[in-house]
């Protein structure tokens, strides 16, 4: 019997594809974000408000994942930006291969921002790198404050948490301080922004976060292309 040390990631194939995507985004200065939450936390509603606030000429595109239906793509297409539905047919997460395939007939060089809306699920999407610059997790006030403790993986891997449906706070038994504290217990450095897609509260801060990250992606591009 011969023991071979392997030391490679189980999802090595996905990781390779994700790194290739990340490198393409980096070379073109495209910011890619991956939105993850439980079903019904308000990913699509947030994207509607986000696209609505974008300037007409913004170079933004959306890939939206679901098990079935084109409903989300239809909801998001109204704003005039390229939107494509990824229907997984039952798979509970998106993977890098699906992203690569759906980007085939888009010109990445025409984009500044690529938003990926993952399948509603707090578990599986956390295992699959899509080549994004940042994972963003949404937690809504109609869920439990202890979700960060129950599903730590995704909260640990996300740079930003959006506490959504903040306008419902007076009507639900949700303690926002406890939710934030739980999120910070899992991931002390995570940024948190409270938002409501209904009243618009916090959306300016969210848009500002997006702008700042886009500038960072562009700045990296300039440093990389300065001739020596």
């Amino acid at each position: 019997m011969n023991r071979i040390e392997v030391e490679k990631k189980v999802l090595n194939e996905n990781q390779i594809l994700a790194e290739q995507l990340r490198e393409r985004y980096r070379q073109l200065g495209v910011l890619c974000i991956n939105l993850i939450s439980a079903p019904g936390s308000g990913k699509t509603a947030l994207l509607e408000r986000t696209l609505e606030r974008m300037d007409k000429g913004s170079r933004v595109a959306v890939l939206t994942g679901d098990l079935q239906t084109e409903n989300d793509a239809k909801r998001l297409a109204k704003f005039g930006f390229p939107v494509k539905q990824i229907t997984t047919g039952g798979t509970c997460h998106l993977d890098a291969k699906m992203i690569g395939k759906h980007l085939e007939d888009w010109k990445l060089e025409d984009l500044d921002l690529l938003i990926v809306e993952n399948v509603g699920n707090l578990v599986c999407p956390s295992s699959y790198d899509l080549g994004e610059d940042a994972k963003i997790v949404l937690l809504s006030t109609s869920e439990g404050e202890d979700k960060p403790l129950k599903y730590p993986s995704i909260f640990l891997k996300s740079e930003l948490m959006l506490l959504t449906k903040i306008d419902l706070l007076p009507y639900v038994p949700f303690n926002a301080d406890v939710a934030r504290e739980n999120a910070r217990r899992v991931h002390p450095q995570m940024e948190i922004i409270d938002v409501s897609s209904t009243t618009g509260e916090g959306l300016d801060r969210w848009m500002e976060w997006l702008r700042a990250r886009q500038e960072r992606a562009k700045a990296k591009l300039q440093t990389a292309t300065v001739p020596h």
Binding site: M1, N2, R3, I4, E5, V6, E7, K8, K9, V10, L11, N12, E13, N14, T91, C92, H93, N121, V123, C124, S126, S127, L149, Y151, P152, S153, I154, L156, N182, R185, V186, P188, Q189
Partner: protein
């Protein structure tokens, strides 16, 4: 709920490693499962057994090693096992500590009968 896909990825790794050992047979694959990787060990073990059953890969045993979450203190560099999501360094009391273990989903080793 994505354990079967993970099991399939492990089996693919076994198959590609097997190509490098003509005449040999892989009997065991060791996989590290971090506390935070979001994979259920029982479901993964079950998924793997289902995948290899009645195939030429049936003799391959999946050996799962659980890796707990470990933090390193940003101040005194003390390493400690994190329990109950308490990030505070037990040695110096610092709150800013980094996760250095527990996210693994790695193939560690394989055993081959040459």
């Amino acid at each position: 709920m994505h354990e079967l896909g993970i099991a399939a990825s492990i089996l693919e790794s076994v198959q590609s490693e097997a190509l490098r050992h003509p005449g040999g047979r892989i009997t065991k694959v060791g996989v590290k499962i971090g506390e935070l990787c979001g994979v259920d060990r029982d479901a993964l073990q079950f998924g793997f057994e289902v995948l290899v059953k009645d195939t030429e890969w049936e003799p391959v045993v999946l050996d799962l090693e659980y890796i707990p979450r470990v933090q390193r203190c940003s101040k005194c560099a003390h390493q400690f096992r994190m329990t109950d999501f308490d990030p505070q360094c037990p040695q110096c009391g610092e709150f800013l500590t980094d996760c250095i273990g527990g996210e693994e989903l790695d193939i560690a080793y394989m055993e081959v009968d040459e």
